[in-house]
């Protein structure tokens, strides 16, 4: 049983940390592409959309090759670089999976704000920075949705964590990889129990989103 909680806790830790990093990178990038005009903006948007649909297992493979001992990053022996088959490697892969989603949905959310509202905000005496900040507050529901979408994509993801984590008991075993293993072993009871935990985590994330959006649902 302690093993069970360990798996749940590690899942939350890995995906939670990956989500925090994705948010810190993704929200500013999405807002920047959505709100400013610069050369290559369209290209950046296309890259984001591509990233949003990238198969997690391919990202897992990419991270695997990058950080394995003979890979371009692994062979440098950097002190802070994540090692293969550690939670650090899993966080790296999940961050790469989640941040395009966070950035892409954030971009769509700020672009969905009426362009005339931005003019009005400027006309009321905002600096560019204040205007950008105000629009992000206006788009807050969409931005929160982007973060929760990012969480949903990585908490339930198997391929990448399996590849770069290795599903090592007590070290890199998370909910999804444990479910795969228990199903293969024929221990369906445990597999279903883990599945229920995963489902309820996804449910709680959506419940949190609904509560945050509650005010606009009441309209």
């Amino acid at each position: 049983m302690p093993e069970f909680f360990e798996i749940v806790l590690l899942s939350l830790q890995v995906s939670g940390i990956a989500l925090v990093i994705s948010t810190l990178i993704g929200v500013p990038i999405g807002a920047l592409i959505g709100l400013t005009r610069f050369p290559g903006r369209r290209f950046a948007a296309v890259l984001l959309y591509t990233g949003m649909g990238f198969p997690p297992v391919v990202i897992g493979l990419f991270v695997y090759l990058l950080i394995s001992r003979n890979g371009p990053l692994g062979s440098l022996n950097l002190p802070f670089a994540p090692q293969l088959f550690t939670p650090g490697a899993m966080i790296t892969a999940q961050t790469i999976i989640a941040f395009p989603l966070v950035a892409g949905f954030t971009m769509a959310a700020v672009m969905g704000i009426d362009p005339q509202l931005r003019q009005q905000i400027m006309a009321l005496g905002a600096t560019r920075r204040q205007a950008a900040f105000t629009i992000m507050i206006e788009a807050r529901l969409g931005i929160i949705t982007s973060i929760i979408a990012g969480f949903g994509s990585i908490i339930s993801e198997v391929g990448a964590v399996m590849l770069v984590g290795g599903n090592i008991e007590g070290k890199t075993r998370v909910l999804t990889t444990a479910i795969v293993l228990e199903t293969r072993k024929g221990d369906f009871g445990l597999a279903v129990a883990l599945g229920m935990v995963l489902l309820s985590l996804a449910f709680m994330a959506n419940l949190a989103m609904m509560r945050l959006q509650g005010r606009s649902f009441e309209e």
């Binding site: 005339q116 003019q119 400027m122 009321l124 005496g125 309209e219």
Partner: protein
């Protein structure tokens, strides 16, 4: 009001002096104003059919975009092409648009918004007092998006009033409103000019509204000023045939 604590050279009677001002979008010239002045304390009506460049001129007067060529002299400060107006000058003018453009916040927070941008907590008069002046005191804590069209536009006016600007630009402020709300809002607009001493530039395609509110009327057509005259004269004896056609409602638009 806010004019009182300005340096002498900025207390001039001319708020705007425009010369050779043009604006082009994708090489298409939408505005070409040789010369125009806006005097302190007046209500200037800008009339003309849609597409005549009225809204473009207002955006330029609020320094929201830079002109293609020419200049605007605002309280002694120059504004040319490829330039951004200094914040302290930009903050002495604001616009109320046709749509109220309220933020997804409470009514009170909407009115306080411009003050917050300037790092001020509450105004003098207070947000509540200005809300009462537009007849919406009881709505302070309500969410702004739940208001009716007319109420929302009054919030937009309160949000501009509390900033005590030198100039308030009004871009079709009563289009799409019912007659009762038009009366209410026109009364507020009059008070902003009379009691608060704010100079107004009112864009409208409704010549009756221009006649009711403006001291002076400018007629724009295809980006050019066709005629500018005191309101009475403008409507009684228009000099240009095109103005006459517009005033008499013959012009199709």
């Amino acid at each position: 009001m806010s004019a009182l604590n300005l340096p002498a050279d900025q207390r001039s009677d001319l708020i705007y002096q425009i010369s050779g001002l043009t604006q082009e979008y994708q090489k298409r010239r939408v505005l070409d104003v040789e010369s125009l002045e806006v005097r302190r304390g007046e209500v200037l009506g800008l009339v003309g059919p849609s597409g005549s460049g009225k809204s473009t001129l207002l955006r330029l007067l609020n320094f929201l975009e830079a002109p293609t060529s020419g200049e605007i002299l605002f309280l002694g400060q120059q504004f040319n092409s490829g330039q951004e107006m200094a914040l302290q000058y930009r903050r002495r003018v604001t616009t109320v648009f046709q749509r109220p453009m309220l933020l997804e916040r409470t009514v009170w927070e909407n009115v306080a918004f411009g003050l917050r941008l300037r790092g001020i907590r509450d105004g003098n008069p207070s947000v509540q007092a200005v809300l009462e002046e537009v007849g919406l005191g009881q709505f302070a804590n309500q969410r702004a998006r739940t208001l009716s069209g007319g109420e929302a536009q009054r919030v937009a006016l309160a949000r501009a009033m509390i900033l005590q600007p030198d100039v308030l630009l009004l871009d079709e402020p009563t289009a799409n409103l019912d007659p009762q709300n038009v009366v209410l809002i026109e009364n507020i607009i009059r008070r902003i000019n009379h009691d608060h001493g704010v100079t107004l530039v009112l864009v409208t395609h409704n010549i009756f509204q221009a006649r009711r509110l403006a001291d002076r009327v400018v007629f724009l057509l295809e980006g050019k000023i066709i005629e500018a005259a005191p309101t009475e004269e403008f409507f009684r004896s228009p000099k240009d045939a095109r103005t006459r056609a517009f005033v008499e409602g013959v012009m199709v638009y």
